[in-house]
């Protein structure tokens, strides 16, 4: 089943642009924790943008800000989000709600808890449709539900729709979540670590489902993950986040072959596949900064192997600058010291 009415978006046109987003959380002692410190990325229509970074780097907070679903103790203190000509941060609540689920869908990590245990799966998928199509009958909602469940690879959807979530496995539930997110034919799907909680074999299936959904409906996807392998497999471009900022933004091939930021390189080097068999993995030493006070220089400097004695890294925050075609990095040493074998072709 393809998306309804609106003509399939032309790939390449800008759909989402997040700029300089700053979000503070108030911790239980009343201090401001700077979760996002000027984060930003763009997504073009129909593309898959991978967002990688370690826990706490702001990947999810960026997505929740876009959805207008930040927790009560969080506050947007700067930046802007443009979505297809709309200024998201200035939308009134009803307008934002009309966007959620209709034009922007979202799925998250744990499909085991994301479905209401006391409502039949089919009814929950129907609901996602009926919320935005109040004049439609339950019957037409159900027929959409069945076709969308079919699209995400649920066999025997008619019977499965009548079951309760506890009768569905984790991988199947994640498909149900994807179905709920896609049923209104959104322009953008945010997938927040959609495979982290799943078995390896099921992970591959869910990634397939996402790829197929993009191919058949033209939905753009923001794929948040720890897993560079998944990014390499289906993303078009990647944004690497560190300490509340995007430190590198590039096409997947460029990023994997010629990453410019030391953090990205460390991330790639720390993958299990990067170390020769039998050797120890290469961890990134140290911890990400606590975000109570933002250091004046580069947040990665204390852990960086490229910074050396360079005082700029301690005192000046590197801006995200274009260093190649569709390739941006925020590092004073960007492009320099490319390790052997990783040079640009």
């Amino acid at each position: 089943m393809t998306a309804p009415a609106p003509a399939r978006p032309q790939p390449g046109e800008e759909l989402l642009s997040i700029e300089g987003l700053r979000v503070d959380f108030t911790d239980d002692r009343g201090r401001a924790v700077h979760a996002l410190d000027g984060a930003g990325y763009t997504v073009r229509k129909g593309e898959i943008l991978g967002v990688v970074g370690e826990s706490g780097s702001g990947k999810t907070v960026t997505a929740l800000t876009l959805m207008g679903l930040l927790p009560h103790n969080a506050r947007v203190v700067g930046g802007q989000i443009g979505f297809d000509g709309l200024d998201i941060l200035r939308l009134a609540r009803p307008q934002l709600r009309a966007l959620r689920g209709r034009r922007i869908g979202m799925i998250f990590q744990d499909p085991m808890t994301a479905l209401d245990p006391v409502v039949r799966v089919g009814d929950q998928v129907d609901e996602a449709y009926l919320i935005h199509h109040k004049s439609q009958s339950r019957k037409s909602a159900r027929s959409r539900t069945l076709s969308i469940l079919d699209l995400v690879g649920v066999a025997d959807p008619e019977r499965r729709a009548r079951q309760y979530p506890h009768e569905w496995s984790g991988g199947m539930r994640q498909r149900a979540m994807i179905a709920m997110a896609l049923i209104n034919g959104p322009d953008l799907l945010i997938a927040d670590e959609p495979t982290t909680a799943l078995d390896a074999t099921v992970q591959a299936q869910v990634i397939d489902v996402l790829a197929r959904a993009r191919a058949e409906t033209g939905v753009a996807v923001v794929l948040i993950t720890h897993n560079l392998g998944i990014i390499a497999e289906i993303a078009d471009r990647v944004a690497v986040m560190y300490a509340g900022r995007v430190v590198e933004h590039a096409a997947v091939r460029t990023l994997l072959r010629a990453s410019a930021h030391p953090y990205t390189r460390a991330l790639i080097a720390s993958r299990p596949g990067s170390a020769p068999a039998g050797e120890r993995l290469t961890p990134i030493r140290g911890m990400p900064p606590r975000m109570l006070t933002i250091p004046p220089g580069c947040s990665f400097q204390p852990r960086c192997t490229s910074a050396g004695e360079d005082q700029r890294c301690v005192t000046d925050k590197p801006e995200l600058v274009t260093i190649g075609e569709l390739h941006e990095a925020a590092c004073h040493h960007a492009g320099g010291q490319v390790p052997k074998g990783l040079e640009v072709e």
């Binding site: 959805m67 679903l69 006391v118 935005h132 309760y164 506890h166």
Partner: protein
């Protein structure tokens, strides 16, 4: 993509569950029906209610019918439970008094459930200052002894049944509100609530569709406990004379009429039946409440 379904259905439910997708409510009903005490309680309540409603068909006497030729008669074929000191038929009074007690229980239970869940769910869902204000009001109500208030207000306005129900309900809702608020607080953190927000649902829809099915059972149980308490409180207040006023019979004021040593020792038919009726009713309500509680909590456990 075809490999999953078989695995999915396998280990899910208990044996009774195989092949069918019983709703959690249906499972809970099944479990309730297997709980003997709860079923017995439910049957007794139904019988008591029927007896109270159909009282005129069960006895030829009205509860206020005075027959000075037949005072203080022991139980007989004519007066099944004997007569009191003015010759009123005790069985008839017992049945009509049941109307009062059951009305108090039912109305208080319903009022407490509605007020308690509305306030508790609002406090839990909206949080912030709304939560603060509502819960402080609840705390204030919880720290006032209701019996004293009823005595004072009944003294000022004159005792009456509606006043009694309003006051008892007015002091009982905070218990239900606290329980409702507590379960909303834990449910609010569930991802399926976030998921509902993400598909664009409004707060109201989430509350009724996704929160109430889980908030309701414990709130109903708490309301049942409050209903039982209300029946006891009505009896106690009528006993001390600020509740239901004679000649309208209530189990409480029937006991009050029987408080002399002579009656206690030589006319047991005047106080044993209303006393038993109170105990039986309160026990039944409690058993039914426990039954609902057990049945629904197991249902929750299974479906997660």
């Amino acid at each position: 993509m075809l490999m999953d379904p078989g695995i999915a259905t396998g280990p899910a439910g208990p044996v009774e569950d195989i092949g069918s997708s019983l709703s959690p409510a249906a499972l809970a009903r099944k479990r309730f029906l297997r709980n003997r005490a709860a079923v017995a309680g439910a049957i007794i309540l139904v019988l008591l209610t029927a007896a109270a409603i159909f009282a005129p068909l069960l006895t030829p006497y009205t509860p206020a019918h005075i027959d000075l030729n037949a005072v203080l008669q022991p139980p007989s074929g004519q007066h099944w439970l004997g007569t009191d000191s003015t010759g009123r038929d005790e069985f008839s009074r017992l049945l009509y008094a049941g109307r009062i007690s059951l009305t108090v229980g039912l109305l208080t239970g319903a009022a407490v459930y509605i007020i308690g869940t509305v306030i508790g769910v609002s406090a839990g869902w909206y949080g912030g200052w709304i939560d603060q204000v509502l819960m402080r009001i609840a705390d204030i109500y919880l720290s006032i002894p209701p019996v004293l208030v009823v005595i004072v207000i009944a003294g000022i306005l004159g005792p009456s049944l509606p006043l009694l129900i309003i006051l008892i309900a007015g002091f009982s809702w905070p218990y239900v509100a606290r329980i409702a608020r507590g379960s909303v607080l834990s449910l609010r953190e569930q991802e399926y609530v976030l998921a509902a927000l993400i598909v664009g649902a409004r707060g109201r829809r989430i509350i009724f569709r996704h929160l109430m099915p889980t908030v309701s059972p414990p709130a109903i149980v708490a309301s049942a406990v409050m209903a039982a308490q209300a029946i006891l409180l009505e009896a106690a207040l009528s006993f001390i004379g600020v509740g239901v006023q004679p000649p309208t019979p209530s189990w409480g004021n029937m006991l009050a009429d029987a408080q002399s040593i002579t009656v206690l020792s030589s006319q047991p038919w005047l106080w044993v039946p209303p006393g038993l009726a109170i105990v039986l009713t309160v026990l039944s309500v409690t058993f039914v409440g426990d039954g609902i509680s057990d049945a629904s909590s197991t249902a929750q456990g299974l479906s997660r």
